[in-house]
Amino acid sequence: METLLTIINAFGDTIANLWRSSGFANMALDSLGMILISLVLLYLAIVKKFEPLLLLPIAFGMMLSNLPMGGIFHMEYFDPDYIASLGYDKGTLFAINEVFSHGGLLDYLYLGIKLGIYPPLIFLGIGAMTDFGPLIANPKSLFLGAAAQLGIFLAFFLALFLGFTPAQAGAIGIIGGADGPTAIFVAKSLAPELLGAIAVAAYSYMALVPVIQPPIMRLLTTRRERQTVMAQLRPVSRTERIIFPIAVTLLVALIIPDALTLVGMLMLGNLLKESGVAERLVKTAANELMNIVTIFLGITVGATATAEYFLNTSTLLILALGVLAFIFGTAGGVLIGKLMYVLTKGKVNPLIGSAGVSAVPMAARVSQKLGQQENPANFLLMHAMGPNVAGVIGSAVAAGILLMLLK
């Protein structure tokens, strides 16, 4: 009889322990909220096809790191305050011993972001896929690519007034660059605590470019301007295509050394492509490597959005500032486009200005679509690709400036 009781007790204890160490008993309400958010993002990625290649891993990473007791990711190991409380030197990037003795899979993969490895590798792939031809054929596109960076700095301005520190404001402003890897690259240095919110905002708004941009473009242009048909671009020689990435790297790196990593990798990818002698490497950079890095980047960026760091008013402010940054960027591009329309006596369609926010090639497609709605004989796609790829260079340069001034 006594033995039976002992067995029943032991059984009961084990079940109780199992329950206590299970996720159900340890689920905090805010973590549950984050899991629900991740499910919404998964819905947006899978059903609505919002940048699914990134949003899907981001949403799943978010779900994984908010599940209690799994130990797959410890955001606190990367929190400067926590690192300082453990007695590490100021400026130590992560709690080195903790990561290597108690870290989970995503802690290790997150090092690729923390050490600034993934975004430049993605840029390598983007470079290998980008055709700078339209930009070389029409160098004035670069004005539009520069003007569209207006959103970054105006969002910075607003963020300061909303109570963010200059470094945080810079990291929020870069959302206006409409370039996911650039935003992550800047945020991980300037405001790692906001990385999750910034990445989610940047990638969601990039997917929403066809919704955000057209009303602003219509508002700022007249029907006549939108109907402008542009002359065909001149053909670009192979020599020009090969010299371009080399010259841009040298020029940008010498003026803004902090932009070297992003611009350098972008241009290396492009040189591999245009040189025509490294086809295997181009294929790897633009496909396999890019895909692998995208998975790592997505899942770890999502993982940083834990309840403690994501569920607060800053996230809502960041989402609001992000959309404003996109709007200002679009407006900046379109307004300079209008100026060019006037200066060239109607040879430049101002609609291509909005493509200056990077978001390749979505923003260029929006210009094409709006142009064609007004005038079915209007083909703006190639003309808009110029400012579009100029925007990639522009936002990388702006990122370099923010890093240099705010780090």
């Binding site: 930009l135 700095f153 200059p166 020689s237 940008v252 003026i255 340069v397 240099m404």
Partner: protein, 123 residues
């Protein structure tokens, strides 16, 4: 260099009052935007110069290519072409030579110089 100096000035240390925030915001916006413009305008000039050096050579080449080819090869073509009406054929060949030259110059400017019309056959 300019940036290094700007970065070393402690103008961003205090950001508590509205006026300080305004100062930082305006400075950053103006400084940031003007540097972005400066860099991209420099790239723009560089690309234009590149176009004039590498792309411009093509422009000078294209027009002369079409004419000499037609005139140079015309005699060869005339002698080579077996014909009933030499005069009409000479004009025809000249026209054909010019058309081919113009066409090949468009698609591959540097390879257009070396062709000869040996025979024209009516189909």
């Amino acid at each position: 260099m300019l940036l290094r100096i700007a970065a070393s000035v402690p103008w961003m240390q205090n950001y508590s009052t509205v006026s300080e925030k305004f100062f930082i915001g305006v400075t950053m916006t103006l400084l940031g935007l003007s540097i972005v413009f400066l860099v991209l305008v420099l790239i723009s000039f560089m690309v234009s110069a590149l176009g004039r050096l590498a792309g411009g050579r093509r422009k000078q080449e294209t027009p002369p290519v079409a004419e000499p080819v037609a005139s140079v090869h015309q005699p060869a073509a005339v002698t080579a072409a077996p014909s009933e009406e030499p005069e009409t054929d000479a004009t025809l060949i000249a026209v054909l030579a010019a058309a081919i030259a113009a066409f090949t110059a468009e698609s591959a400017p540097r390879s257009s110089a070396g062709f000869t019309i040996r025979r024209v056959r009516r189909v």
